[in-house]
């Protein structure tokens, strides 16, 4: 213990929280890029994923506005985080997402029409396809943050079996107000688990701004109380976000334990299509946030580096629009499940006691179905 006298106060612990950014809002490269970003094809790949995700996202909003989809949560402005996550993760890692991590899910093999199907209200959307990395991923999680401590169990299983796999638990800024988040962050280091907690801080928990969620200076620093590293990254800089995620995943995989990444971004859309942010959010704040758009930023960066042309952009825009349309058509083609489906995945084997209810559903007149 300290040699100082009992009445003296000494600093027994001190911390700092670092923020990583390689490319600023204007697309200017601020520091030597990580190796992957020195390959123009990698930059184009990330750009393509972001642009296609945005096109699909816009299509979903359009379908909702025209009565062809249920309430939808847009990822507008947050495409870089999902893209970086999907690329950084290994195939046999497990993604435990919230509900705005579409780009990561697409990259891991979730068909985009499943996203539409989910918001249309069809459980089959969460039966991710065999033979893709998403096969072991968790489905969308709507209750805020409750999925996060489940990552402790998933990562514990990896450690118990000595598998070089990592669990990635994704959440928003709102979820970090919850006990679930704290319980997970508080305990992860006890077993030195291979888990990465990824916060997409989009500045808003529906109508509650970041400053009114917590007095904490950063959300990343919430890691520190749990004895694990916490860092910020510019979540609209896809290069920085991928770099930081790859570093965290490699560390977790190498047995260095958990960490928290706060990716700072901005929700450019309403919370969902059922929300109207104009009620509580100033227009000039939104306009300012658009200047930091991750897609615009990488395009400017690539243009400066000479690996992206106007012709490339036009070609990609057309491709992305065609893909979004194809996704919509694939979604329209999915017929509703049979009524008895509400029973058929409830248990491994349906208890006899439920047989009569299932039979009732099967013999009832077919309900009106809708997209």
């Amino acid at each position: 213990m300290s040699e100082t006298s009992p009445s003296a106060e000494t600093t027994v612990a001190a911390f700092d929280v670092r923020m990583t950014r390689f490319v600023d809002a204007a697309g200017t490269v601020l520091a030597p890029l990580p190796a992957f970003a020195q390959d123009p094809e990698e930059l184009r790949r990330m750009y393509r994923v972001m642009v296609e995700t945005r096109a699909i996202d816009r299509k979903a909003v359009a379908l909702q506005r025209t009565g062809q989809l249920g309430t939808y949560a847009s990822c507008l402005g947050q495409e870089a985080i999902g893209t970086a996550t999907g690329i950084a993760m290994h195939a046999d890692d497990v993604l435990i997402p919230a509900y705005r991590d579409y780009a990561a899910q697409f990259l891991r093999g979730v068909p985009a029409e499943s996203t539409f199907l989910y918001w249309a209200g069809d459980e089959r959307s969460m039966h991710f396809p065999e033979g893709t990395p998403s096969r072991h991923d968790f489905p969308f999680s709507v209750p805020i943050g409750t999925h996060i401590p489940q990552a402790i169990g998933v990562a514990y299983a990896f450690r118990l079996r000595k598998q070089p796999r990592v669990a990635v638990a994704a959440c928003g800024d709102g979820a970090t107000s919850r006990g679930d988040f704290y319980e997970a962050v508080s305990s992860a280091k006890v077993w030195n688990l291979p888990v990465v907690f990824l916060i997409s801080n989009n500045q808003w928990a529906i109508s509650l701004p970041r400053a009114r969620q917590t007095g904490a200076q950063t959300l990343a620093q919430k890691a520190i109380a749990g004895g694990i590293p916490g860092e910020q990254v510019d979540g609209n800089d896809v290069i920085a976000t991928r770099h930081v995620l790859e570093r965290a995943l490699a560390a977790a995989r190498a047995g260095e334990g958990p960490r928290v990444i706060e990716a700072v971004t901005y929700r450019l859309h309403d919370h969902t299509t059922a929300d109207d942010a104009r009620r509580y959010r100033a227009e000039d704040e939104l306009e300012d946030a658009w200047t930091r758009c991750p897609i615009k930023r990488l395009r400017a960066c690539m243009a400066t580096l000479g690996c992206w042309s106007v012709a490339d952009e036009e070609e990609l825009e057309a491709q992305a629009a065609a893909r979004a349309e194809a996704v919509a058509q694939a979604y329209f083609a999915v017929q509703p499940e049979m009524p008895q489906a509400i029973f058929d995945s409830l248990y491994a084997t349906l208890p006899t006691a439920l047989g009569a209810q299932r039979a009732e559903v099967m013999t009832a007149p077919a309900p009106q179905t809708e997209h």
Binding site: I152, G153, S187, L354
Partner: protein, 329 residues
């Protein structure tokens, strides 16, 4: 074959299944070196090590969530919640996640987990330690809810719960943990999870109960036998799914039924059983189905808990009332 009480039978089932299946692990508060506050996990740490016997921080929500995460990876976690009132923080995880993953992923992600907890009062425990929780869980689609009432069933049903591919809430009768012993063979044989047990045959009326109240109900049946009343005794054991066939078959024979439950009366399993008897067994009944239960009050603290808890006196009184409405013979 050894004479065991219920807590020893639980311990034996855990030991036996951990030996049989390396995917089985236990987690909970004070379950390692301390062996659990009721000693259900004594010896497991030495036998299976800290990786499979996980002492958890004091966060029941985390315990439930971690069990879910483990179970999705094909492990078979058995989580202990120290006292029944501490199950409340787990409700979110159980209702929103454990009970739903199979359905919402159409069978892709499943939760073969068990959450064990002592259930009910009668041991003069502190506040929040004596709640009867079965109604909460029996209302949640996707779960199984088991409430054993003797050592052999505690052993056989716990094996079945661990082996079941779906989430099981396993509510143990706190006050009966050390009340009596029974010969239990470590046979590794599971009992069925969706079957009520006809424990004693009788002709005049059917007494239905589960968990700790089975003990009071047995004593009541003994007392009534002295008066020449022949009771058929059914241990429901599985509250979800509920084996109404066995109960209906008995009531069809006896024409009279009293249901005994420790939980508050309103909306509880006794009400569900009574409603089923009204729907499917009315023409066999000589009299209304009666319920003996805890009152619709907050569970009293130790000094008044006996006022709340159904006992032999209340059960016998209710049976006499029934026999006045519909005399035997």
């Amino acid at each position: 074959m050894a004479d065991l009480n219920i807590i020893e039978a639980v311990n034996l089932a855990l030991k036996s299944e951990m030996a049989r299946d390396e995917n089985v692990l236990v987690l909970g508060e004070d379950i390692g070196r301390n062996g659990g506050v009721f000693r259900a996990t004594v010896g497991l740490l030495d036998a299976y090590g800290p990786e499979r016997v996980i002492d958890m921080p004091l966060a029941e929500n985390l315990i439930a969530a971690m069990a879910i995460g483990l179970s999705t990876q094909g492990l078979r976690p058995v989580a202990e919640i120290q006292f029944s009132g501490f199950l409340y923080p787990c409700l979110d995880q159980i209702a929103n996640h454990a009970a739903r993953y199979r359905n919402r992923t159409r069978g892709r992600i499943t939760c073969p987990l068990v959450i064990r907890a002592p259930n009910g009062g009668g041991i003069h425990a502190p506040e929040h330690h004596s709640e009867s929780m079965e109604t909460f869980f029996a209302h949640m689609p996707g779960l199984r809810v088991i409430a054993p009432s003797n050592p052999a069933r505690a052993y056989g049903l716990l094996l079945a719960a661990i082996r079941d591919p779906d989430p099981v809430i396993f509510l143990e009768p706190t006050r009966c943990y050390r009340l009596f012993k029974q010969a239990v063979e470590d046979s590794g044989e599971a009992l069925p999870l969706d079957t009520a047990f006809v424990e004693r045959e009788g002709t005049h009326l059917t007494l239905v109960s589960w968990g700790a109240m089975m003990h009071e109900t047995r004593l009541a049946a003994d007392a009534l036998a002295q008066e020449g009343v022949s009771c058929e005794l059914i241990d429901v054991a599985s509250l979800k799914p509920l084996d109404m066939d066995t109960i209906l078959a008995s009531v069809t024979k006896t024409g009279r039924c009293v249901i005994v439950q420790e939980a508050p009366r309103a909306y509880g399993p006794a009400s569900e059983i009574a409603a089923n008897l009204a729907e499917h067994g009315l023409l066999s009944l000589f009299a209304p189905v009666l319920r003996v239960s805890g009152y619709d009050t907050v569970m009293p603290l130790a000094r008044l808990e006996k006022v709340y808890l159904p006992d032999v006196r209340r059960i016998v009184a209710e049976v006499r009332k029934l026999l006045e409405l519909a005399p035997v013979g």
